[in-house]
Each structure stands twice: as C-alpha cells, then as structure tokens.
C-alpha cells in the first residue's frame, strides 16, 4: 500500500458523490474547452485567411458592430499612393443571415483585386465580369446553404445566380458567399461604399516602415485604422468581445467547479472526522493529513479535467459540423488548449481542497476520534 492507495481509497468511499463531482468539474472544463476553442479557432481561421490571400495590412473603421462601418471607396486610391504600398484592393463584407443560414459572410470584392487570385473553381465557373448578377460560393457555404451551381441565392431583395463553387484555401474563405464589389454595393444599397481595404506592402518593408505607413493612412483617413494582418485579431472589436465572452463564461464554469469540489471535499472531511482522528492518533503528522486531502481534491480535478477535455473536444467536433459554425471558423483543438484546461482543472481541485485540508489538520485527535 502506498500513500496514493490511501488517496484513491478516500475517493472510492463514496463513488456516487465522487462521480457527481467529476461530472460537475468535467462539464465546467468541457465548457472552457468548447468556448475557448471556438474563440481561438475563430482567430486562427481569420489569421489563416489573411495569410492565404497574402494580406499585410487591413484598413477599416473599427467602430461599428461585428462588421466595421462603411466608408467612401475613394479612400483606397489615396492610400494606394503611399510609398511602401505595392497593391491595394477594397471589399464590402457583411455577416448576415442568408436564407436558412443564420450567419454567413458575404464578401463583395473589387473586380480584378488580388483577393480573387487564390480562389480555385471546383465546380461551375468564375463570375464573368464586374456587373454579372452572380455569386460564387465557398465550398462550405455551398454545403451550409445546400446550393449547387445553377441555383440562386436570395441576398436582400435580389436573387443572384450561383455560377460556381470555389475553394479559397481557408475556412473563412470557404464559408463565404463571394461576389463582385459593384454588385454587392448595388444589392445592399451601399453605392460607392466599402468597409475594408486590404494592402500588400513592398517586399522587405520593415516594422518601422509599417508603423509609419499606418500613421500616414491615419492622416488620409482619420476615422479609420490600419492594422497589420498579424494584429487584426487583437484589435477588432468582434474578436475582443468573443474572447472576453469565452473567458468570462469559462471563469463562471470554473467557479462552479471550485464550489462543487470544495463542497465534496468539505463533506468528505466532515464525514471522516473520526477517521482523520484515527490517523492523527496513530501518529500521522498534520501535514500528511493535509496532503492526503489536497491530493484527493487534486486527483478529482485531474480526473474531471481529463473527462472534461474529452467532452469538450467531442462537443467542439459536433459543433464544427453544425450549419451555424461550419464555414465561419475551425475550432481550435490544439494540445495547448487541452493541456491548459487539464491544468486549470487540477488547480481548481487544489484550490478547493485548501480549506478542507486546513480544517482537517486542525482537529484535535482526541476530539476527532470521539466524533
């Protein structure tokens, strides 16, 4: 028999209660994994999209809702004059409900811009010209909307033909409805307006030059903001909200977990006062009794964490296939997230065990043994 035997025996005394506590922690941890996995996945997906298209900087008006406010398309021409800028293009993007899909990205792209280049037609054809009232669908968008080449999609009051299905090399691209900027402006009654300018810089532009360029853009377009592609995720309102929400919900879930484990450990300690009295009477040091209680609660946390990570990962995989999420993001199931979640669970266990452990070690052996 080892010390660990004693610890596990303590948990096995009340299998139902231990099981319920494990369920409690694991659901909390599963929530953490799912929520944070979505938030991180969202960020990663966007990062990947920018990378695939080869965007170095993005200019937009960061105030506004989930999507930035529109501004005059002429801003692009002024920005294009700046020395370090190699290429620019503009877009009008909206995250809207289309037919049965609750949220889908509709991306109107300036005809001839570099954002068209990486799209590979997998079915049908590309849009013919700037004014053709047609869209191409990213592969996932086609799946979510259940559309084939030859169908139409309803955008606001207009019906547009689906002429092709494309692969854009990232989840975000594949989840979008793509059309020409001119058509998008007309359909959404935003003539002459865009809400993003994507920039490619001259090769070899260093960090200082990027910062300088951003400052110059600010002069041209004071309401706007130029952000390096690598920082888009950190600065956007939408991402910040998503991040804050996922963490605050996680903290709530963790708090519930702590209370659950603490309750279990306190009950265990109360219930076992007599046995703890025996341990003290036969000469166990107080620290050893504390260690026993702490190890029990940490073990609860560890087991709950492992279970929770499995549950959370399964949840994410299921969510990944739902229409609401498919195409918007690729949930992040990185080992980093899973390990962090298990560590959180163990820490939750340890924190919850502190008070019960301290209590149990303060008992007088004579009093405890009589209870």
């Amino acid at each position: 028999m080892t010390f660990f035997t004693i610890v596990t025996r303590g948990l096995m005394r009340r299998p139902v209660r231990t099981g319920l506590t494990l369920a409690g922690i694991s659901i909390g941890i599963a929530a953490v994994v799912a929520l944070v996995g979505m938030a991180w996945g969202y960020e990663k997906s966007i990062g990947k999209q920018l990378d695939v298209i080869g965007i170095d900087m993005i200019v937009s008006n960061m105030t506004g809702g989930i999507m930035p406010k529109t501004f005059d398309a002429s801003v692009e021409d002024k920005i294009a004059q700046l020395p370090k800028i190699k290429e620019t293009t503009s877009l009008l993007m909206q995250l809207i409900s289309v037919e049965d899909a609750p949220m889908i990205m509709v991306s109107g792209r300036k005809w001839g811009g570099f954002t068209w280049h990486q799209l590979k037609v997998v079915e049908g054809r590309m849009i013919k010209d700037e004014h053709e009232p047609a869209v191409v669908l990213g592969r996932l968008a086609a799946e979510v909307l259940k559309k084939k080449v030859g169908d139409t999609v309803q955008l606001d009051s207009d019906e547009l033909n689906v002429v092709g299905i494309v692969d854009g090399g990232s989840v975000v691209e594949n989840g979008a409805i793509i059309l020409s900027l001119a058509v998008m402006q007309k359909v959404t009654l935003n003539e002459g307006k865009v809400n993003f300018i994507d920039i490619r810089l001259q090769p070899g532009t260093d960090k200082d030059a990027v910062t300088e360029t951003a400052a110059e853009i600010k002069k041209i377009f004071p309401e706007g903001r130029a952000v390096k592609a690598s920082e888009v995720v950190g600065t956007s309102q939408g991402f910040r909200v998503a991040r804050a929400m996922s963490w605050s919900t996680s903290i709530l879930a963790i708090t519930v977990g702590i209370l659950g484990v603490m309750n279990t450990m306190l009950m265990t300690v109360f219930e076992r006062t007599h046995e703890i009295g025996i341990l003290l009477a036969v000469g166990w040091r107080r620290q050893r009794v504390m260690l026993m209680v702490l190890c029990e609660s940490a073990l609860l946390g560890l087991l709950g964490g492992i279970l929770g990570v499995i549950l959370g990962a399964a949840g994410l995989m299921i969510m990944e296939t739902t229409p609401a999420i498919k195409g918007l993001l690729e949930p992040d199931l990185s080992p980093r997230l899973l390990i962090i979640s298990v560590i959180i669970a163990v820490v939750v266990g340890l924190i919850s065990g502190l008070y019960p452990a301290w209590r149990s070690s303060r008992l007088s052996p004579a009093v405890a043994i009589q209870s």
Partner: protein
C-alpha cells in the same frame, strides 16, 4: 524476576504533576490535579468509577489532547511542548482503544501499515513488517479481510499490531477488553502481558476489571479527577501469570 519489578531508582517514563484538564471552557473538570509517576518497564493499571477521568488521563499521556494545567513529562521531555507530537504518537507509544478504531475502508494488513507512513520504510518493508506483526498476534491468515469481517477480539488484535507498528517502548491501553467477551478479553490481555514481559514494554492500562488490575505492578485508583490510592502488588503479577 527482579528486573520486572521497577524500584524508585528506575528512570521514569511519565511524570505528571498537578495535571488538570477542563472541558467546555471550565464547566467540566475531568482531571483536578493528578500526580503520577510511571517507571520504565512497569505495568500500571488505572481503575476507578465511570467518569472519573481515566480516559482523559490516558489521552494526555498519549498526546491526543493537551492538559489545561500542570506538567507532564515523557522521559524528561514535556509532552505538551513537544515540537513533533506526531513522532511521539507514532514511534514512542502505541495506543489501544476500547472501540478499536480501525479504518473501515482498509484491510487488516493496510490498517497496520498506516502508522508506518511516518517511519521512512519502503513499501515492501512496510508490508513485511505488517505481516510479521499480524502473525505475532495470530492473524496471519486474515490479512486481506476488512475490519467489519472480523470478530471484536480479532479487531482488537489488529489494533494492537497497529499500535506496535513502529516498535514503541510504551503501550497505552484504554479498556482494551471493554468491548469483548471474557474469552476474547483473556486473549487480548495475554497479548499485552506478553509484550510487557518479553519486549519490556511499559504498559499503562485503564480497566474496570479488578482481576486484571491485580496483575499489574501497580494499581492506581481514581475518583472525581484525582488519584485516590495507589497499591503496589506485593506478589509480582507476572510470576503468577502463565
């Protein structure tokens, strides 16, 4: 037999002076000033009516509770001031309770190993030693049983084996036969006497049974939290006992 009959020159194991113990903020005075000496190798029996403070006194000797007043030394060291009372409880003494106090979720073999976690033995050494101890109390065949599967007498033998886990020189027993029928009581008593006789263990035993008390080197009678009389056995007990 002379070595079994300690005299005034034998060093003391316990020395209590003016020992008091109060409960409930002074409402209950369980001990009201006890003076007591226990010498190396003695077998001291403590008797007295119910509620006179016998268990309380034994708990103080065993460092299971702290005195309210007075001094209490173990081989010259103050028990209440010990920096490491756990070591004293696990190594210097073995405590045997009337109610056995075994851990119900651990087997016999495991129960005996519990105090050994404070002893720096390896896992294998702990097990071997526990087997040896259980064999010495005649329970070599019940190692994997749980306490609930044993008779009272068997449980008390497990408790004695546990008390001897780290080879103490003193055994404190609080009515160890109080919950047992006479046949089992006899066995337990034999076991304790054998320890006293063969291993020279100092034995302090609380009992209601005057027959048992008669076997002791000294019998201390208590009443209302005080020692009222002390009788040294003229016929050394152990000589009479088989």
């Amino acid at each position: 037999m002379a070595e079994n009959v300690p005299s005034a020159s034998t060093p003391t194991v316990y020395e209590a002076r003016g020992l008091k113990k109060e409960f409930d903020g002074g409402k209950v005075a369980a001990l009201r000033g006890v003076d007591l000496d226990v010498r190396e190798g003695e077998f001291v029996a403590i008797t007295g009516p119910s509620g006179c403070g016998k268990s309380t006194l034994l708990q103080l000797l065993g460092s299971l509770a702290l005195p309210s007043e007075g001094t209490l030394n173990f081989r010259g060291r103050s028990i209440p001031d010990m920096p490491d009372p756990a070591h004293y409880r696990s190594h210097d003494i073995g405590f045997v309770f009337q109610a056995f106090h075994l851990l119900p979720t651990f087997t016999v073999l495991e129960n005996v190993q519990i105090p050994m976690f404070e002893g720096g033995l390896t896992k294998a050494q702990r097990k071997d030693r526990a087997v040896e101890l259980l064999e010495s109390v005649g329970l070599g065949h019940r190692l994997t049983h749980f306490p609930s599967e044993l008779s009272g007498g068997e449980r008390q033998r497990v408790a004695i084996a546990r008390g001897l886990a780290n080879g103490p020189s003193v055994v404190l027993a609080d009515e160890p036969t109080g919950n047992l029928d006479s046949a089992n009581a006899e066995q337990i008593l034999e076991l304790l006497l054998k320890l006293h006789r063969d291993r020279k263990v100092t034995l302090v035993l609380v009992t209601h049974d005057l027959g048992i008390a008669g076997l002791a080197t000294r019998t201390i009678r208590m009443k209302d939290g005080r020692v009222v009389s002390e009788t040294s056995s003229s016929t050394p007990s152990l000589a009479n006992h088989p």
